[in-house]
Amino acid sequence: MTAPSQALKLTASAALLSLLLAGGCHKKQPTNTAGSGVDGAPGLTSDGVAPTATLTADPLTIEQGASVVLNWRTTNATSVTIDGLGTLPVNGTQTVSPANSTNFHLVAKGDGGTVESNVRVTVLVAQPPTTGNTTGQVADTDTNGAAMGSAAEFAANVQDVFYDYDSFDLRPDAVTAAANAARYLNAHPAIRVLVAGYCDDRGSAEYNITLGENRANAAKTALVNAGVSASRLRVVSYGKERQFCTEDNESCWQENRRAQFTLDR
């Protein structure tokens, strides 16, 4: 599976942003905040030129045990750290083999301030292929054809559902996203889906697991009500344990407050 989860994320947040602008339910737009998403926009500066940082990973999705190349470029930075890798040159590449899906979090510091950049590497945990075809990758389309669809189609049609803080109610944008997802899943009955619930970094780890469970269940219920068989859907709450981003601002918190759909192998 070559799901471009980063692209998915950007698409989803763009859709969300437009909804936020339309709805106006959040007074603060993340236009002047530091480093949301992958772009590493400059942070607040005192003097000096603000640093910029971009962190990318290739590929964004790997099988367990495979490697991914991290590539970072900064300007006006004097020191660069990536969580788990320590202090690094201001520009560089490094090959890593994360055991689990990982958010790589880069912090670039310079005279003009600090900027962060994130990239998420999704690690697929190996499961026995449902078709029995050992080549796995092509099995989906070879044997199931249209019933299985492609990973790219899945990513385009089955998008994350986002929630308000401390809430597991489906917002209008979430209802739309769930309806689109259900339409695609009903057209591809061989697909099984992991519905994962996530929470933002605020509040307590234990309570957030129960909240994430409710978010995932709310998304699952929306799919079931739209005709998707419950037996195709598996729910896991991650609470605040697998954060997409770690900045302390509303745009990042919103990215984390979601139910995320992935192909369940």
Partner: protein, 475 residues
Amino acid sequence: MITISPNRTPTARRGSSILVRMRNRCKTTVATMWRAALLGAATLGCGVAAHAQDSFSVVIDKGADRIRIAVADFKQQTPSPASASYKRAFDATLYADLGAAGIFDLVSKSVIPQVTPGFPVEINLNAWASPPTGAAMVAFGNLSVQNDRLVVNGFLDDAKNPQYPQIFAKQYNEQANEDAARQIAHRFADEIIARLGGGVTGIAETKIYYVRILGANKEIWEMDYDGANQHAITKLGATSLSPRISPDNSRLAFSTLDPRFGFQIKMYSLLLNRLVTFPASGGANISPAWAPSGNQLAFSSSRTGQSEIWVSDPEGRIAHKLTSFGLGSSPTWNPKTGAQIAFISGRTSLPQLYIMDSDGSGVQRMTDGGYATSPSWSPNGQFLTFAWNRKYGPGAPGGQDIYVMEITTKRWIQLTHDIGRCDFPSWSPDGRHIVFANDPDGRADHTRIMSMLADGTEKHALTGSGADMPNWSWK
């Protein structure tokens, strides 16, 4: 008005109590005063701002009549570099333990006699009893390494009773290493506290279990109560949360994120040093809590849909559901009676603190708003400590701090201020200390574990960055 009698006689030493004073506002007359079975420090200043409620403050009364105790450096009987390093570890640990106990007026080592007594015949008690030392009690002894065994003889003398000075003498004999030197010091300190504390039990031998953040993984670790001897218990290569040690120190319950099945309760035997069976179930299964009997485990489970508080036996059998409201987590038993459970529920939107009888009846809401999490019930049964963000919500970031609430009146005080996000308070078994997690700068991986007296004083870090969710052992 209310006298909550501690488990000691009214004539017992005043140094062994927390006084909780209710005030209409700071500096006004004390309206109510009662005593709880906690102990510690001098009267607090007015540290609590006036709120809509009548604020009150926990006053740990260290008392004017605290026993003045002097500790001699122990005499090193065998001349080896190893002995010298054991002696240094022993001396430092013993001195720190007696200071941390909060019931002694501990004599500074700069004003004790120059001569180091190793045995009762070598001590000149008059020199220790006279100014500037002025000690009422003297702890001293000797230390040697014999055939790879560390042998420590400890003595406690009453300096004001020269005719029959000895209160007790104790010999300790362990495999020689620095950890043994610290553990022996803890045991000797606890023995002194037990003899002089008027019913207070020492905590120097207790342990703290916690979550160690290691990159993407979280493992369960153990350390001594003073932060020494930090070491791994689990090596699961996974995300494990909420360690809870059994009352008899034999088993550790926690929850682990299974990539396939979500969070599941795990049980680790500290006797067998491995996981033991605990059945998996559907949904998220988190935040286990031991009943004081050790025969029951409460936890949160969403196996039937909503997250509710469940109770089972320690093997996970005969599980039954206590609540039916949803979004329930973080149960904690009343350790004094075992008859009540406090827990967190988001049934009315933001999570609030509740208590109920241990059969699920008599649910009472304790907090009036904000975002409340992570309760821990005081050993005497009278107080709850928990994390609370009273201003939680959009546009009101507020702060998440540690609070103590008196259960009968629901009056509370705030123990932490402006030190970053605080969570997961856990009482020490003597009820006089609270350990908690502190995230000083908003980065979750910078979270560390701190300890304080139950009145919020004497805060100090026990670990560096990367430690979370502490749980203090029951003994």
